[in-house]
């Protein structure tokens, strides 16, 4: 059968086009029901059971469900529960869902793919009996509703052919569209709203909690608290004629009644204040805003305001009192101010947090407080509040009607008891979007057997380096060893009479096991990186590979990808070659063991001499790198000693750095650079590289001002001059000063990013921190997916492996880089959140007095760092005691002047009064300020928890890229 669809389509230039598309109707599409005797089903094509038992009290006969589009869009959490089965998903619905929300579409596909759920997708749009043509003047939505009803009627009739003897299933249409339901009833179709259906389901008590409260927000005009949003058409018109602006809403962390929107037309971000000004926008939403006339502009309030812990019901407080925002006369602090008039696109996700049960006994409506402070509290309905009150839970937002003070949401699942280590880790992983589910069967099926050994023919294909004395050097307790090294003297000398050495870097050959386009490969690509929490590692590839078959353990034969150089004794590279190899590591050492082997002069064995050569060459490499302008940056790094049974941290200490750390690092850098050069030459369009842009001068302003106060003029014009002036900025007697300077310099840096060589001009390849024109990641394929791709590219160009399509596809490479960068960043945040969590656990029962340094001076606080623990946080200064000098960035109280880089003594303790946001409290001990230092108790009122953290996120140890993530590798 054949028909054609005709559309009218408007081109960008405004011409009206008539588009005619073919649309084939088929008679070979199956209904998927086991009760059907007419369709020629094969066994595996039957999805719907012939005896579909009813779980709903409203229908006492077996039935299949057909879902309307709005049901899938709003009730996906209900559908994901293992309760509703024997469901027919029509293609009309599938396509509408795909069009409207890709995330929900993916989740729906997941459900359909799960055989046990018995969801059948029926291609009604191409079935000759269920296709409906759009009537003249009919809206698309109405046509789709009609198509859905037609399909339901068809199923009913189709199944009834066999309904003579046995009772074959009926078909029930679930829809929340009242109008649709009415017409369906008139047409004799059984239908029901989701709410009615789910509330009458037996045997699944939690199901009703997951019902989404998807009222249409703008229709609740009775008792409305909020002004109505404009319709999309009004917004569109407003933006076009310049009255409205579009931007992404960012809620303030400190003040729940304040937020900002960055708009292209304005240099400053637009300030939004109060319930009405924000008008139900949630952090991340794309909103339309109207900007007030200039005389109504205000300045951002600098007070901290948390939503009250009691539920005031559906009332909005008198907000002028809450905001206390003052209109100032000085013009430079005034920010453009406006209000939200409409929501263009919601960016809601699922949020972790805790339930705050209602005080009324037996109440089902409760408030939920998200862990993320930027998200407002949410009203949810549940009958399990007693159980959930002590749990971390996950909640999804549904809608925010005009007459509700809080957005409405529903409970998704519980994560575990509050304070429980696993639950807290789960929160960290979820909030940072770290994929951490167990590896699927499909992924595990890609693994080699547990007792896998290297096949003979594989050895024959490779360079056999087993006789060579190779060793690895890593942090203690490291089980995913992805690099090993060797160095040996070779015959002959250079033309200048210098000694020659052969140096090899051997990297675990992960791509031998992770083949392109397998389930394993896709999973690894999606995870992109191994995530290190203090007490848990979330692997990128399954444990068998990461800790065993790929890990270059001592004494075991392993496959490797080697980069081997010939160098002279001044560490000049004479030649470079890459090849796959088989190695047998002589020893897997820790940094400390390697250091001892080097220092112990009595040791004359092969390992020790090899290490000594490596060490001396590394020093020359490092010298040359620094001379080129590489920055030696620092960040406070700490290491927790974890109790072996409870996994709770028992002690924390700053990490020790030895020569051997930098030895390994130098050779990894060298390997990465060598590989990057080769790839860029070989693949001008699709080489995966890493670049680090130079920071814009504005990043340095505060840093330079602070350094000037200590008497140093730093030259930040180039990385070379910056590096030099950092070296010279030393205060005798204050050894920590220089380190501190470097820590702060780190925070002025940009984030390094992966990119595909085709997307960037050659001069932008530069890596600022390492001062090298080109760079990539090659040395850690076990824990970074970027390295896996780099391995594949390199293997293809040295003829060890074949290319595959997506490897050479620019668009795919670009999309991959976006994901890599995103996951990388999220992994760093998650790691930091884990450190914070463990710090809190560590200080649960202790109070300490420690020396500290000032990192920054804020209006109401000092940002201080405890070098011993690498801890950092705000030390609040009450404004009645201290005056803040805006120009100089100092806080003054009588004779005491506090400025950046000052050394203090502080008292550390943990405030657990708010379970959601436990925080470390820093109290000033020295210098002594009467009535303020130490004994003052009531200072937690003004706590802003590390309010400036987001800006610091970008900054890491750029100088030590190669070993970046290994720092937290520990048991």
């Amino acid at each position: 059968m054949w028909t054609s669809k005709t559309f009218l389509y408007k081109t960008k230039r405004g011409n009206i086009l008539k588009i005619v598309r073919e649309h084939y109707l088929r008679d070979d599409l199956l209904c998927g029901s086991g009760a059907c005797k007419t369709c020629p089903h094969k066994d595996d094509e039957i999805v719907l059971m012939s005896q579909a038992e009813s779980i709903c009290a409203l229908f006492d006969y077996p039935h299949y469900l057909v879902l309307d589009t709005n049901v899938v869009l709003h009730q996906i959490d209900v559908l994901e529960e293992d309760a509703l089965t024997n469901v027919i998903i029509l293609q009309t619905v599938l396509e509408e869902v795909k069009h409207q929300n890709t995330a929900i579409f993916q989740r729906l596909l997941e459900i359909i793919g799960n055989k046990r759920r018995k969801f059948y997708s029926f291609v009604n749009e191409h079935h000759k009996d269920t296709y409906v043509e759009r009537n003249p003047g009919e809206k698309q939505n109405d046509r789709n509703d009609r198509a859905i009803r037609r399909a339901v009627a068809w199923y009913e009739a189709h199944l009834s052919i066999n309904r003579v003897n046995i009772e074959s299933p009926r078909v029930v249409l679930l829809t929340d569209d009242e109008n649709n339901r009415k017409i369906a009833q008139d047409e004799g179709i059984i239908c029901c709203s989701v709410k009615d259906y789910v509330e009458n389901v037996n045997g699944f008590p939690g199901l009703v909690d997951k019902l989404s409260k998807n009222v249409i927000p703008e229709n609740c005009s009775k008792d409305a608290l909020y002004p109505a949003h404009l319709t999309p058409t009004q917004i569109h018109a407003g933006i076009r004629n310049g009255k409205l602006y579009q931007g992404i809403f960012h809620a303030s962390r400190d003040n729940f009644l304040e937020g900002s929107v960055v708009v292209n037309a304005f240099e400053k971000s637009i300030l939004l204040q109060g319930h009405i000004g924000i008008n139900r926008a949630v952090d991340g939403d794309t909103v339309a805003i109207e900007i007030f006339p200039e005389e109504e502009w205000r300045k951002p309030s600098d007070i901290v305001l948390e939503d009250k812990s009691e539920d005031p019901g559906d009332l909005l407080e008198e907000e002028t009192v809450l905001l206390k925002s003052t209109k100032t006369n000085s013009n430079d602090e005034v920010t453009p101010t406006g209000k939200v008039v409409g929501i263009i696109k919601r960016k809601w996700r699922q949020y972790c947090g805790i339930l705050m049960p209602s005080r009324l006994p037996g109440a089902t409506r409760h408030l939920f407080t998200p862990a993320e402070k930027r998200i407002p509290r949410v009203r949810i309905e549940t009958r399990q509040s007693d159980v959930l009150a002590s749990q971390r839970i996950l909640v999804a937002l549904d809608s925010w009607p005009r007459n509700s003070r809080y957005p409405l949401g529903h409970f998704v699942r519980a994560l575990g008891p509050i304070g429980d280590k696993d639950a807290e880790n789960e929160v960290i992983l979820l909030e940072h979007d770290v994929p951490h589910a167990r590896f699927s069967e499909a992924v595990l099926a890609c693994l080699p057997p547990n007792d896998w050994t290297i096949p003979k023919e594989e050895i024959n294909k490779r360079v056999d380096l087993r006789p060579i004395c190779i060793c690895s050097v890593d942090p203690p307790g490291c089980t995913d060893i992805d690099d090993a090294l060797h160095a040996r003297r070779i015959k002959g000398t250079t033309d200048d009479g210098l000694k020659k050495y052969e140096v090899g870097v051997h990297i675990a050959d992960v791509t031998y096991f992770v083949r392109p386009n397998t389930a394993l490969d896709k999973e690894a690509a999606s995870r992109s990186t191994t995530v290190y929490l203090v007490d848990r590692r979330i692997d990128m590839v399954p444990d068998l590979l990461s800790s065993n078959l790929c890990s270059l353990r001592g004494g075991e034969e392993r496959l490797a990808f080697s980069c081997v150089w010939e160098v002279d004794e001044n560490a000049n590279i004479l030649s470079t070659k890459f090849h796959k190899s088989v190695i047998k590591s002589a020893a897997a050492m820790t940094y400390e063991e390697a250091q001892i082997a080097i220092d112990d002069e009595s040791r004359k064995d092969e390992i020790a001499s090899s290490l000594r050569v490596l060490n001396s060459l590394a020093k020359k490499l490092k010298r040359r790198r620094l001379d080129n302008g590489a920055l030696l940056l620092a960040s406070p790094e700490i290491r927790f000693q974890v109790d072996s049974e409870t996994h709770d941290p028992v002690e924390v200490q700053a990490k020790k750095l030895m020569d051997t750390n930098s030895m390994v690092e130098e050779f990894m850098l060298l390997a990465n650079i060598s590989v990057a050069q080769r790839l860029a030459a070989e693949y001008p369009q699709c080489a995966l590289l890493r670049r680090h842009p130079a920071p814009p001068p504005v990043n340095f302003v505060n840093f330079l001002k602070a350094a000037r106060q200590q008497g140093f003029e730093l030259d930040v014009s180039t990385n070379k001059s910056f590096s030099k002036s950092l070296d010279e900025a030393v205060i005798p007697g204050r050894p920590y000063f220089n380190t501190l300077l470097r820590i702060m310099a780190t925070r002025c840096m940009q984030q390094a990013v992966y990119f595909s060589s085709g997307t960037c001009a050659q001069e932008d390849f530069y890596h600022y921190g390492l001062a090298c024109p080109i760079y990539t990641h090659f040395t850690s394929p076990i824990r970074r997916y970027a390295d896996v791709i780099v391995h594949r590219l390199l293997a293809a160009c040295v003829g060890c492996d074949v290319t595959h399509a997506s490897l050479l596809d620019n668009k795919a490479a670009d999309a991959l880089c976006d994901n890599l960068n995103y996951r990388h960043r999220q992994a760093q945040y998650a790691g930091r959140a884990s450190v914070a969590l463990n710090t809190h656990i560590l200080f649960r029962n202790r109070v300490e007095i420690e020396s500290a340094v000032v990192l920054a001076v804020k209006r109401n606080a000092l940002q201080v760092l405890i070098p011993k623990y690498g801890l950092e946080g705000p030390l609040y200064l009450p404004s009645d005691k201290f005056t803040y000098n805006d120009e100089e960035h100092v806080q003054i109280c009588g004779k005491v002047i506090l400025k950046t880089f000052d050394e203090l003594t502080v008292r550390l303790s943990l405030d657990s009064s708010n379970l959601q946001h436990r925080k470390l409290i820093f109290q000033l001990v020295k210098p002594y300020v009467p009535d303020f230092s130490y004994k003052v108790e009531d200072m937690d009122v003004e706590f802003v928890e590390e309010s400036d953290l987001p800006q610091k996120i970008e900054k890491k140890r750029k100088g030590t890229e190669a070993k970046l993530s290994k720092k937290s590798k520990k048991k």
């Binding site: 086009l17 649309h23 599938l94 291609v123 386009n517 290319t803 596809d809």
Partner: protein, 250 residues
């Protein structure tokens, strides 16, 4: 995987075909009386008219002692696409198509039978909805047969593209305009299916070697399927006993 979603999760294409299904083909031979042979052929919404003159004595400049010279002219009607625009004859695209057409038809015709002669083939695309070249070749073949010109074999052309289904590569036969516009690779083959010879092969983009064989074999299968349809049409046409002489006498 990269590339647009050309296959639904149920394995159907955007227009409802399965990956190995051709578009609907309808054809009619002998649609004009003036030329020596003519045919009208549509594949889906792509519709083409072909007319053949000859063989006749070749113009001096083109004449060859080796065999007949096939002269092709490809053109598109002003109204053939959604956006109406004037298409001058002999623009670069038409010239290229004419050359490609000539290559495919020359391979099919027993050229050695008519030295110093020439055959003129005119094709006009009345409506374009993807795969215009393929439809032109198929229409021209019918027109040649209608003109009674001896062929080695049917020349059939078919395109194929690549899609993914359940993580596996799944080539699509007879690519329509929507699928072409989605940006995937389109491989076009003109072949003599009964001899397994390929007369012309063209690709719109780069395609990784790994997939080339599957896409090519799908396109070749398309050619064979088309041959069956053309053959049936020819036999029916002849069975009607509706020949040129009849037309003259009417």
């Amino acid at each position: 995987m990269p590339g647009p979603d050309l296959l639904s999760s149920q394995g159907l294409r955007l227009d409802g075909r399965r990956p190995n299904e051709l578009r609907r083909i309808r054809c009619k031979m002998g649609v004009f009386t003036q030329p020596d042979g003519s045919a009208y052929l549509e594949q889906g919404n792509t519709k083409v008219l072909a007319a053949v003159y000859g063989p006749h004595q070749a113009a001096k400049s083109k004449s060859s002692t080796e065999g007949v010279v096939v002269n092709c002219q490809y053109s598109m009607a002003t109204f053939s696409t959604g956006e109406r625009k004037n298409r001058p004859r002999g623009d670069r695209k038409s010239q290229e198509m004419s050359l490609h057409l000539r290559q495919a038809l020359t391979a099919a015709i027993k050229t050695e039978l008519y030295p110093r002669s020439q055959i003129d083939v005119y094709v006009e695309v009345l409506q374009a909805d993807g795969g215009a070249y393929c439809v032109c070749v198929n229409a021209a073949t019918l027109a040649l047969i209608d003109a009674g010109i001896p062929l080695r074999a049917y020349a059939c052309a078919c395109s194929a593209s690549m899609a993914w289904h359940g993580g596996q590569p799944e080539p699509l036969v007879d690519v329509g305009h929507v699928e072409e516009a989605a940006g995937g690779v389109v491989l076009t083959v003109a072949s003599l299916p009964s001899t397994e010879n390929i007369a012309l092969l063209e690709m719109s983009h780069r395609l990784h070697m790994d997939y080339f064989d599957v896409v090519l074999s799908r396109a070749m299968q398309g050619c064979r399927d088309i041959e069956v349809i053309l053959d049936k049409a020819v036999r029916e046409h002849l069975a009607e006993g509706w020949t040129k002489e009849d037309v003259v006498t009417i």
